[in-house]
């Protein structure tokens, strides 16, 4: 299988302000968010990044998406370095996170066209893609409604579709089902599986064990910024074995993040 994402020894630190030091009850001036992290994801697979809040999952995904820069290490996205070719990497990645919001003033229809144009998608291809995806997610019904008037679920569907306007090879979803009702969450999960069958690589960050067990091919467990386990989901065929293993690892590794 072709390696489509190769993450090598990523490290990212954040300076702690006095206020943050007080909140986190530490005298250390720097927090290591991602510590020598490496993993590989293959074409046509779903890779689950599992970890507690603050483990460094989102930071890792933001680095891969070139939104922020790593201190050390590199990642290759379809052979392109995130350090050397960030703009080309962006055209290969679709990124969806709750941090990315849609502009309330515009309609889904306008935003789809806008982001397609920014990605340089041909108008004909754009319209075909839009028709297909709007139909699939039921966006047709509210495509001319301003985002400000949409429900949370509707907005999430629009965000999802917009992250895919350019038909990226790698799709990065940070907690994609957070805050969604069960119906919308199911639509999103079904869509992820659909993308997988199309040969897309999906990197999924979550702390929901059942979701990982259900759809992922590989899993990486991140605790305190470090990859403590990377393995195939075939190793967790026994129900709840992933959750059990996770807590064992969590107990072994917690509390060593400050450097």
């Amino acid at each position: 299988m072709k390696v489509i994402l190769e993450v090598n020894n990523l490290k990212k630190t954040f300076k702690l302000s006095k206020k943050q030091q007080k909140i986190e009850k530490t005298k250390l001036k720097v927090r290591v968010a991602v510590n020598n992290l490496s993993f590989k994801a293959y074409e046509g697979q779903i890779y689950g990044l599992l970890g507690p809040n603050g483990a460094g999952k989102t930071t890792t995904l933001r680095i891969i998406s070139t939104l922020i820069k790593q201190d050390e290490g590199d990642a290759l996205v379809d052979g392109l370095s995130i350090s050397k070719s960030p703009e080309k990497v962006r055209s290969k990645i679709g990124f969806l996170t709750s941090d990315l919001k849609l502009d309330d003033f515009f309609t889904p229809n306008y935003l789809f066209d806008y982001f397609s144009n920014l990605h340089g998608v041909d108008a004909k291809v754009r319209n075909e893609r839009k028709e297909l995806m709007f139909k699939k997610f039921g966006i047709d019904e509210f495509k001319e409604v301003k985002v400000s008037d949409l429900s949370t679920g509707m907005k999430q569907k629009v965000s999802l579709v917009i992250s895919l306007v350019h038909d990226p090879k790698i799709i990065i979803f940070d907690e994609p089902t957070n805050g969604l009702d069960v119906i919308t969450a199911k639509t999103v999960i079904d869509f992820l599986l659909d993308l997988k069958t199309q040969g897309k690589t999906i990197i999924l960050s979550t702390h929901i064990f059942s979701l990982v067990e259900r759809i992922c091919d590989q899993v990486g467990i991140i605790i305190d910024g470090r990859m403590v386990l990377e393995t195939s989901m075939a190793d967790f065929s026994v129900p709840n074995s992933l959750e059990k293993r996770f807590f064992e690892l969590y107990e072994q590794n917690r509390g060593e993040i400050y450097g």
């Binding site: 939104l67 941090d99 990315l100 849609l102 340089g120 917009i162």
Partner: protein
């Protein structure tokens, strides 16, 4: 009472422990001191009241000793060779500052208590003529007691209109341009950061320099539209605004003047948008951007106020200073006394600073510390 004190303490703590807020509160005083100190000197020179200013005048039958007394303080160039007609023509053309005619036996008549009348001719649309008129009038009132004055202002209606327009419009226009920029730039950049929509743009393959340039151009168009609307409204309402003492006719200015005006306005809008865009990119929210832009607004207002005297700077190097150059170029254009070199310096300087601003903005868009500051 204890509750009242608790509320007061909390409010004061809010303002005096926030470094940014504190800067916004105290910076205006510092800026006012620095700017007024610098501008004071510049304005005195521009107003023709500097130590080196030479006033031109023709005085007929001037009593002995008057000229000597005045020349101990002022540099006067007596042009006695002019005929009466030539003097009046030069006054109208702003080539002579003052023309006085004393009666032939002025001092004898004065001492006899006959209240002799002095003819005074000046041009109110010329700053140096008005100044010279005031100087001589003050000298007479300090030296003499009972005499008459027959004062004639030789400014044409157009000159008067231009003088009033020059004194008021550049300041208002610069204010419109800045407020137009303030209305849109914080919303477009700080607003996008605050709402979390900017990251969607940053993960597209578009170069950060294109994002910066795209924002600047779009915001400039909006700010320009707003300023143009205010400007046209102002010009059309001028006759009523000034109580019918002045009329504005678009034909008072040539096509070339309008073209230069347009270029100065566009380059100034770009400067304002870039400055506020930089502040907005640094800020976390619209509120913070607006607060941080307040010192800029004070600077713009103070520079704008310097035009209320209606005289443009003459030194070319001053036209390299953004905002100050725009204000002075506007004064020059409105007063029909524009200088091509100064105009070119203004446009080039503003465009260079805009370019540097866009470069800096691109760097800021590339900085995660600025773009994702919490």
């Amino acid at each position: 009472m204890a509750n009242l004190w608790t509320i007061i303490k909390k409010e004061l703590r809010r303002f005096f422990t926030d470094k940014r807020m504190l800067v916004s509160l105290l910076l205006p005083g510092i800026l006012i001191f620095v700017l007024y100190s610098i501008m004071g000197d510049v304005m005195v020179n521009n107003l023709g009241q500097g130590a080196d200013q030479v006033y031109t005048l023709k005085v007929e039958n001037e009593p002995t000793g008057f000229a000597d007394a005045l020349e101990t303080v002022y540099h006067l160039d007596y042009q006695d060779e002019l005929t009466s007609e030539e003097a009046l023509l030069k006054i109208e053309n702003k080539e002579l500052d003052l023309y006085l005619v004393f009666p032939v036996n002025f001092l004898d008549d004065y001492e006899a208590g006959l209240n002799p009348t002095i003819e005074m001719h000046y041009n109110a649309s010329s700053m140096t003529s008005s100044t010279m008129m005031n100087i001589y009038s003050s000298f007479l009132s300090n030296s003499l007691q009972q005499y008459g004055m027959d004062v004639s202002n030789h400014a044409t209606d157009i000159d008067t209109s231009i003088m009033l327009i020059t004194g008021m419009v550049p300041f208002l226009l610069i204010t419109f341009l800045f407020t137009g920029a303030m209305a849109v730039a914080p919303e477009s950049i700080a607003g996008e950061k605050e709402r979390g929509t900017i990251a969607n743009l940053l993960i597209t393959p578009v170069k950060r320099s294109n994002i910066a340039l795209g924002k600047i151009i779009a915001l400039s168009i909006v700010a320009f539209t707003s300023a143009a609307s205010s400007f046209i409204g102002l010009m059309l309402s001028l006759p009523k605004l000034l109580g019918g003492t002045v009329g504005f006719d678009f034909s008072m200015y040539s096509v070339g003047a309008y073209l230069m005006l347009l270029l100065v306005i566009i380059s100034t809008v770009l400067i304002f948008i870039v400055m506020i865009a930089l502040v907005s990119t640094y800020a976390k929210s619209i509120k913070e951007a607006t607060s941080l832009a307040m010192p800029l607004m004070i600077v713009v207002m103070l520079v704008g106020v310097s035009t209320l005297m209606g005289s443009a700077a003459t030194s070319a190097y001053l036209y390299l200073i953004p905002i100050y150059n725009s204000v002075n170029s506007l004064v020059s254009i409105f007063s029909l006394e524009f200088n091509l070199v100064n105009f070119i310096l203004t446009i080039v300087s503003n465009l260079v600073v805009t370019g540097l601003g866009i470069f800096l903005l691109t760097r800021m868009f590339n900085s995660e510390k600025i773009m994702f500051r919490k």
